[in-house]
C-alpha cells in the first residue's frame, strides 16, 4: 500500500544522504522524495512516497526517527491529508495537434508555460492520479519529455507538523 511520510529534518549537509542511505541499506522502497527548506531555514521538510506492508512501514518510520538529525516523522496516510505533485510535460504541437493539446491542457487545468513552433511545455499540478490521467489522455507519441516532482503532502485541518 502507498504511504506518504512527512519528515522534518535538520537542514544540514549530508542529512538527505542519511535518509536515502537508510532506504537502500534496509531494502525499503522509495517511490519519490521531495525536499526543501521550510519557513525556518534551519529545518528541511521532506515528503517520501513509499510502499510496504504495515510492518515494513512501521519499521521505516521507526528508523527515520532513529536518525539523529530527524526532528519529526508523520505518516500522512494515517489521517486526512492532501498531496500535490507538479508535472511539466513537453509535447509535440504541430498543425492541428496544437489546438488539441491546448484543449487537453485546459481540461486538466494545466497551463502552457513555454511555446515553440513545434512544442508546448505544459505545467500541471494535482495528485498523482490526475497527472497520470493527463498522460493517458493525450497521444503518447506526442510526449517529448516529462518531469514530475513526486508528491508533497500536508495534513488536513488541525493536523500540523512543526517543531
Amino acid at each position: 500500500m502507498k504511504h506518504i511520510i512527512a519528515v522534518l529534518i535538520e537542514n544540514e549537509a549530508g542529512a538527505l544522504s542519511r535518509v536515502v542511505g537508510l532506504f537502500s541499506a534496509r531494502a525499503y522502497n522509495i517511490e519519490s522524495l521531495t525536499v526543501a527548506p521550510t519557513e525556518d531555514p534551519s529545518l528541511s521538510r521532506m515528503t517520501i512516497q513509499t510502499t510496504g506492508s504495515p510492518e515494513v512501514i512501521e519499521q521505516i518510520t521507526k528508523h527515520l526517527n532513529r536518525l539523529i538529525e530527524v526532528v519529526k516523522v508523520v505518516d500522512l496516510t494515517e489521517g486526512g491529508y492532501t498531496e500535490r505533485e507538479l508535472m511539466l510535460v513537453k509535447v509535440r504541437a504541430v498543425g492541428k495537434e496544437r489546438e488539441e493539446m491546448k484543449r487537453m491542457a485546459d481540461i486538466f487545468r494545466g497551463r502552457i508555460i513555454d511555446v515553440t513552433e513545434k512544442s508546448y511545455t505544459i505545467e500541471l499540478t494535482g495528485d498523482q492520479s490526475k497527472n497520470d490521467a493527463f498522460l493517458e489522455a493525450i497521444d503518447r507519441s506526442a510526449i517529448l519529455e516529462t518531469v514530475r516532482t513526486g508528491p508533497s503532502g500536508i495534513g488536513r485541518g488541525e493536523r500540523i507538523l512543526r517543531v
Binding site: E58, N65, V70
Partner: protein
C-alpha cells in the same frame, strides 16, 4: 616539552579570565580530557599530525600505538565493553579510516559507545581526490550511530560534546568525528568545553509507559510458564541488579543471548544457559513452550530465534522492553511493547510486583520447572570428557573455568567454534566479563579486546580464547602488547581448521571441505617468542591443566598457549540456519 606543558598549564589557569586562542587539535584534546578519557588507541598519519602534536604536549591521556587501525578500534571497543565508558580511537585519513571500518561496524552491531576521530584532508582539498582522501562520512554512515565532519574549528568543542553525548545515551553506538587537517591547526577563540548539550532532534526516552508496564505485570503474574530472555541491552543499560532482583522475586527461568551472558549468574539453576543456534536444549525449548516471554534488551535476531515462522507457530504472549523502538516488532510480533531504558523500566516493574499481593501460580510454576528439568536432563553440553588421546576444545575451556572462577578476570573471544565453546563452557557470573563480537561476528577481535581491557584493568587477567584462524587476523598486536606492557593470555584452540566453516561443510555441504583447512600454519611458540612473549605448545590432554596453571602464574608477560585440539570436534547442540530453534542437532547418537 616541559616548557610547553608549563605554558599550557598557565594558559588553562588563565582561561577563566579571557578567551584563549587554541588550535582545533588542542580543543579536541581538551574535549577528550573534559570527558575524562584516559586511554586512546590510534595510529598517526599526515592528516592527524597536529592532533598527535597536541597529544604530545599533555600527559593525562595515554595513547597506545597499535599496529593496524582495525585493532585500534577493537581495543577501544573492548575497553568500552569492559568498563561501560566511551572507547576512543584516533586514525588518519584515507586508509587509516578504511582500516578502521571493520572495527566501527563491529561496535555498531553490538551497540558499543565509542568516539572515533579520523583525520581528513584539508577542507579546500575535499572532493579533489587528494592523497589519502576518502569520503569518511559517506563510508561510515551505515555503520555509525552518527558522524560529523568538522568544517570549522569553532565548532570543535560542541561537536565533541555532541559526539560523546550521542555515543553514550539512548541505544549506545559509535560516533565518528572527521577532522580536516586545516581545522586541526587553525587557531580560534576557545570558550571552554560545553557543560551540557541540547539537540531538538535527539531526545532518547528513559521512562517506560506506566500503563504498558502494568500490562506486563499482569501477564507475568498470571503466567503459568513464564520465561525471561535478555540480551546485551541489560549489560549496556547497567540493569543487571534489577534483572537479578526480578528473576529472584518471581522465581522464573532466565536465558541470555551471546551478548547477554553474565547478567544472571550462569551457575545459578534459574539460568538455563545461552539460547539460540548453539544454545542449550532447555533454553531453546523453554522459548517455544513458555506462555509469557519477557524480552529485555534483546532483539530476536536470526541466530537467537532461528526461523521466525517456526518461532511464531506457537501461542505465547511477548513483552518486549527495549530502548530502541526499531528493535521492537522487527522480527516477531509483540503483545506488550515497552520503549524505555531497561534499568528504569525494570525498576518500575519490580516496584509494581512488590506492591502487588499476587504472585505467579506456585503449582504451575513448579510444573514448569519440572518440564525444564526434563529438558535439562538431556545434558546437551556433554562431550567426551574422558578422552586421553586428543585434547577436546571444550575441556580446555572447562579447565580454564574451574581454575579461574574465583579470579578477577576477563574472557575475550574471536569468532567461530572456540567462541561458542567459550560461551557454553565458561560460566560467567558477572557482567562485562565476556567480551566478544556478537552481531557482526568479526574474527580478529579477541587479542585487541584483551589488550584494551588489560590497559584499563591492569590487575585483572585477560584471557583470549581464540582459534588459529581468528588470531592471525590481528596477530600483529602481539607487538603492541609488548610495547605497552599489557600481558594477556592467549588460549588458541588450534584444530588446524576454520572450525565452524568445517562444521557447516560437514553437516550441510556433505563433507566438501572447501578451503577450510589452514595449511602452512606458523610455529606459534616461536612466533610468540619472536615478539618477546612466552609460547607454550600443548598436545596431550594431560598437559592442558598444567599449561593453563603455568600461564596463570605468569603475571607480567604475554603467554601464547597453542593447544592442538581435536580437528573433528563440532559445536553441539546446533540449529541449522533457517530451522526452528527446537529443531536441534544434538551431535553423536549417545548424547
Amino acid at each position: 616539552m616541559e616548557i610547553n606543558k608549563a605554558e599550557l598549564a598557565s594558559a588553562a589557569a588563565a582561561s577563566g579570565q579571557h578567551h584563549e586562542e587554541l588550535m582545533g587539535a588542542e580543543i579536541l584534546v581538551r574535549a577528550l580530557q573534559a570527558e575524562g578519557v584516559q586511554h586512546i588507541w590510534g595510529y598517526p598519519g599526515g592528516a592527524v599530525l597536529y592532533i598527535y602534536d597536541a597529544l604530545y604536549k599533555q600527559d593525562s591521556i595515554q595513547h597506545v600505538l597499535v599496529r593496524h587501525e582495525q585493532a585500534a578500534v577493537h581495543a577501544a571497543d573492548g575497553f568500552a565493553r569492559a568498563t561501560g565508558e566511551v572507547g576512543v580511537a584516533l586514525v588518519t585519513s584515507g586508509p587509516g579510516l578504511t582500516n578502521a571500518v571493520t572495527g566501527i561496524a563491529t561496535a555498531y552491531s553490538d551497540s558499543i559507545p565509542m568516539v572515533i576521530i579520523s583525520g581528513q584532508v584539508g577542507t579546500a582539498a575535499i572532493g579533489s581526490d587528494a592523497f589519502q582522501e576518502c569520503d569518511t562520512v559517506g563510508i561510515t554512515r551505515p555503520v555509525v550511530k552518527h558522524n560529523f565532519l568538522v568544517k570549522d574549528a569553532r565548532d570543535m568543542a560542541e561537536t565533541m560534546k555532541k559526539a560523546f553525548h550521542i555515543a553514550r545515551t539512548g541505544r549506545p553506538g559509535p560516533v565518528v568525528v572527521d577532522v580536516p587537517k586545516d581545522v586541526s591547526f587553525i587557531k580560534v577563540p576557545y570558550h571552554g568545553y560545553p557543560e551540557s548539550v541540547s539537540m531538538r532532534s535527539y531526545n532518547p526516552v528513559r521512562k517506560g509507559h506506566g500503563g504498558q508496564i502494568r500490562k506486563a505485570l499482569q501477564l507475568l503474574l498470571n503466567a503459568k510458564r513464564p520465561y525471561i530472555y535478555t540480551g546485551g541491552g541489560v549489560l549496556l543499560g547497567n540493569a543487571v541488579q534489577e534483572l537479578r532482583t526480578l528473576v529472584d522475586l518471581l522465581g522464573v527461568p532466565v536465558t541470555h543471548t551471546l551478548m547477554g551472558l553474565g547478567a544472571y549468574p550462569s551457575t545459578d539453576p534459574k539460568f538455563l544457559g545461552m539460547l539460540g543456534m548453539h544454545g542449550t536444549v532447555q533454553a531453546n525449548y523453554a522459548m517455544q513452550n513458555c506462555d509469557v516471554l519477557l524480552a529485555v534488551g534483546a532483539r530476536f535476531d536470526d541466530r537467537v530465534i532461528g526461523n521466525p515462522k517456526h518461532f511464531a507457530s506457537v501461542e505465547r504472549k511477548i513483552v518486549h522492553i527495549d530502548i530502541d523502538p526499531s528493535s521492537i516488532a522487527k522480527r516477531v510480533k509483540v503483545d506488550v511493547p515497552i520503549v524505555g531504558d531497561v534499568k528504569d523500566v525494570l525498576t518500575e516493574l519490580i516496584h509494581m510486583i512488590k506492591e502487588s499481593q499476587n504472585r505467579p501460580d506456585a503449582q504451575a510454576l513448579a510444573a514448569w520447572w519440572g518440564q525444564i528439568d526434563g529438558w535439562r536432563a538431556k545434558d546437551c553440553l556433554a562431550y567426551d570428557r574422558g578422552n586421553t588421546e586428543v585434547i577436546k576444545p571444550q575441556a580446555v575451556v572447562e579447565t580454564l573455568w574451574n581454575m579461574t572462577k574465583d579470579d578477577d578476570c576477563y574472557i575475550t573471544s574471536d569468532v567461530g567454534q572456540h567462541q561458542m565453546f567459550a560461551a557454553q563452557f565458561y560460566k560467567f557470573n558477572e557482567p562485562r566479563r565476556w567480551i566478544n563480537s556478537g552481531g557482526l561476528g568479526t574474527m580478529g577481535v579477541g587479542l585487541p579486546y584483551a589488550m584494551g581491557i588489560k590497559l584499563a584493568k591492569p590487575q585483572a587477567d585477560c584471557w583470549c580464547i581464540t582459534g588459529e584462524g581468528s588470531i592471525q587476523m590481528n596477530i600483529q598486536e602481539l607487538s603492541t602488547c609488548k610495547q605497552y606492557d599489557t600481558p594477556v593470555k592467549i588460549v588458541a584452540l588450534n584444530n588446524r581448521y576454520l572450525g565452524m566453516v568445517r562444521q557447516w561443510q560437514e553437516l550441510v555441504y556433505q563433507g566438501r571441505y572447501s578451503h577450510s583447512y589452514m595449511d602452512a600454519l606458523p610455529d606459534f611458540v616461536k612466533l610468540a617468542e619472536a615478539y618477546g612473549h612466552v609460547g607454550l605448545l600443548i598436545e596431550r590432554p594431560e598437559d592442558v591443566e598444567p599449561a593453563l596453571r603455568e600461564a596463570r602464574a605468569i603475571k607480567n608477560r604475554t603467554v601464547f598457549l597453542d593447544f592442538r585440539t581435536d580437528p573433528t570436534e563440532n559445536v553441539w547442540p546446533m540449529v541449522e540456519a533457517g530451522k526452528g530453534i527446537t529443531e536441534m542437532l544434538l551431535g553423536s547418537e549417545e548424547l
